[in-house]
Amino acid sequence: MTTASPPAPADPVQGRGPADGGGRAGARGPARDVAGLGVGRALGFVAPALLLIGAFLVFPAIWTIYIGLTNYRLTGVEAVSPSMVGLSNYTKALNDALFHNALWLTLLFVLGSAIIGQNILGFTLAWVMRRTRPAVRRTVEAFVLLAWILPSTVVAYLWVAFFDRDGGTLNNILGTPGTAWLIDYPMACLVFFNTWRGTAFSMMLYSSALQAVPPSQLESARMVGASGWQTLRDVVFPHIRGHVLTNTLLISLWTANDFSPFLLTKGGPNHESETVPVYIYNVALQGGELGYSSAISFLLLIANLLVSLIYLRLLRRRS
């Protein structure tokens, strides 16, 4: 950071002094080292964090890209001495029916549980809670948040118990003993589960977004007799369009990369609920094809980037 004050033009000799910090002379000295640590010590402070990030984030990412180009396996000859296979893992993925199936299921999962489920349920809760008594609002918020902050394994266990064929809670409620929900309707169960699991974020984001809508504009709409839907369409949504896009982007990415479906169905039965993250796991650890699964991971990363770019473009076009 250079200082904001312009150098005094009347006295150029003093104006260029090191204490001034502005102008061309400021490229060295105080302008670069505002804390006064010196480069060596500054690097010393940053190094531990950089090392951790490098070891656990950057290196695995590059490693994944690298082994995606090899025939590396969990066991066997290729585990010891993998060889470069070029892009053949990627061409294999393009013709892999199970990968196509995983992509399609991921799309369904994102569309059903995130874009539709969490978005609409989260907004509805935020909109309804806006006018309720604080005690009611806090209670509901606490329950919704609980679903979000509980560890995945705990939650998965609860939902397995809920959907269970023998003595499951859902069968007891509906009076349909013997229905194997997780086997007969695995994707529906996952969509239902993930909507429940992730709605808290959308609810909180929309709660604060709705506070940005000026009350007088809502009242103006009320004064001219606008219906609830007209008020939402004409007054509320134009104010929170940016929030809707941001929320949809975040929950879409989280849902697409979510691994908790594995904890409920392990991708089964017969790949019927095998979303891409679950497929990657199954290929890598059950099939042992580490090279191939790395290639698919990289494809998932590319897909994430593409989705982000589309959302960012939409956001920018709005502003």
């Binding site: 000026p214 007088s216 009242e219 007799g225 104010h239």
Partner: protein
């Protein structure tokens, strides 16, 4: 066009605050009516209760003789302009103006025509395609007014219509608003905390305090004869002199002053007319600085004598503070007659301009309508 009748209206908030407390009011058809009072007096709550944005706890609101106490805001035939104008930022001026028609599913052609015509009435020609953010404060206010007018309500409600404008624009907008209301002839109720605004705009003013009506009258009545010391204090750009005094002699009947009497106040005396109080009664004497006359020589009849302390320049007038026997009394004088501080002066006032208030209740001691002899 329609009148508004308010009967025993009370609006109580969940925390028990009686923001409007048992109010009776009639606003005539086509009248320009001001609700005036300090902040927290309930004037805005009253306006919002008429609009239907707050629900009345007790009493009734009638518009055009129809009971609307429990009617939805959108079905009352009432249009409202909010203090911050509440324009929709993503809609153009034209879309904002015709939004009430869009809600009622009026055809696009009719809407365009209405936008054109209403914009013409409010000097917004050529701005129809702009967004509110591209308009000045005065233009935004006119768009808000245009939207309210386009909804063709029977009653127009304005919440602090001029408070978001800067001082110079406010005077322009005031003239504009008054002319517009005259031209449209629409029953209009507006809320303000600015007494000058209420005096300038309104046909009648309701002065409120703590949810209750303190005086109802024309600007002239409210200014010249405040019904109590609260109103006397609140109305007028230079505060009214309110001084403790005693009725010293009466010239009417034996006990009650009927025409002209004398009150002793601040070491001197003033003559007062049209009040009813026995001789010796402790009163509060109210006289506006504008109604006091300052002279330097001796005058015959009741007067006050004192020394000039300071003079404040108000433009064409000066407000002179005179120390009369330890009490500071304000008096306005024309700019060229400003006395030097320290000079001894004499103050007089016409008897009809000297008002007497009960010391305890603060109510005006008005002449009894028909004094029994």
């Amino acid at each position: 066009m329609a009148g508004i009748d308010i009967e025993g209206l009370a609006t109580v908030y969940p925390n028990g605050v009686r923001a409007v407390d048992g109010l009776d009011l009639h606003v005539a058809d086509g009248e320009f009516f001001a609700l005036l009072g300090p902040s927290g007096c309930g004037k805005t709550t009253l306006l919002r209760t008429i609009a239907g944005l707050e629900s009345a706890t007790e009493g009734k609101v009638r518009i055009d003789a129809a009971d609307v106490t429990r009617t939805e805001p959108g079905k009352r035939g009432v249009a409202m302009v909010f203090q911050d104008y509440a324009l929709f930022p993503h809609m153009s001026v034209s879309e904002n103006i015709t939004y009430p028609l869009k809600v009622r599913r009026v055809s696009a052609a009719t809407r365009a025509e209405t936008a054109e015509r209403t914009a013409g009435e409010l000097s917004l020609d050529g701005l129809l395609e702009r967004k509110p953010a591209q308009l000045s404060g005065g233009q935004q206010q006119r768009v808000a007014l245009a939207r309210a007018i386009a909804s063709r309500g029977k009653v127009l409600l304005l919440d602090e219509p001029l408070s978001n404008l800067d001082a110079r624009l406010r005077l322009e907008a005031r003239t504009f608003l008054k002319k517009l209301q005259r031209d449209l002839g629409i029953t209009t109720v507006f809320v303000t905390h600015d007494q000058a605004e209420a005096l300038a705009l309104a046909d009648r003013i309701a002065v409120m305090e703590s949810g209750k009506l303190r005086q109802l009258g024309s600007p002239r009545e409210v200014f010249a004869r405040p019904a109590n010391t609260f109103v006397a204090n609140f109305i007028g750009s230079t505060p009214m002199n309110l001084l403790p005094g005693t009725v010293s002699s009466t010239s009417g009947s034996d006990t009650y002053v009927d025409e002209v009497g004398v009150v002793s106040v601040a070491g001197g005396s003033l003559s007062a007319a049209t009040f009813s109080a026995p001789a010796g009664a402790e009163v509060t004497v109210g006289v506006r600085p504008e109604y006091l006359t300052l002279a330097s020589g001796d005058v015959s009849g009741p007067s006050l004598r004192g020394q000039v302390v300071v003079a404040e320049n108000l433009g064409t007038q000066s407000l002179v503070s005179v120390d009369c026997d330890g009490t500071l009394i304000g008096v306005t004088v024309p700019e060229e007659n400003e006395p030097e501080p320290g000079t001894t002066v004499v103050l007089t006032a016409p008897a009809s301009r000297v008002l007497l208030y009960d010391r305890e209740s603060g109510e005006l001691l008005a002449r009894q309508p028909a004094t029994v002899a």
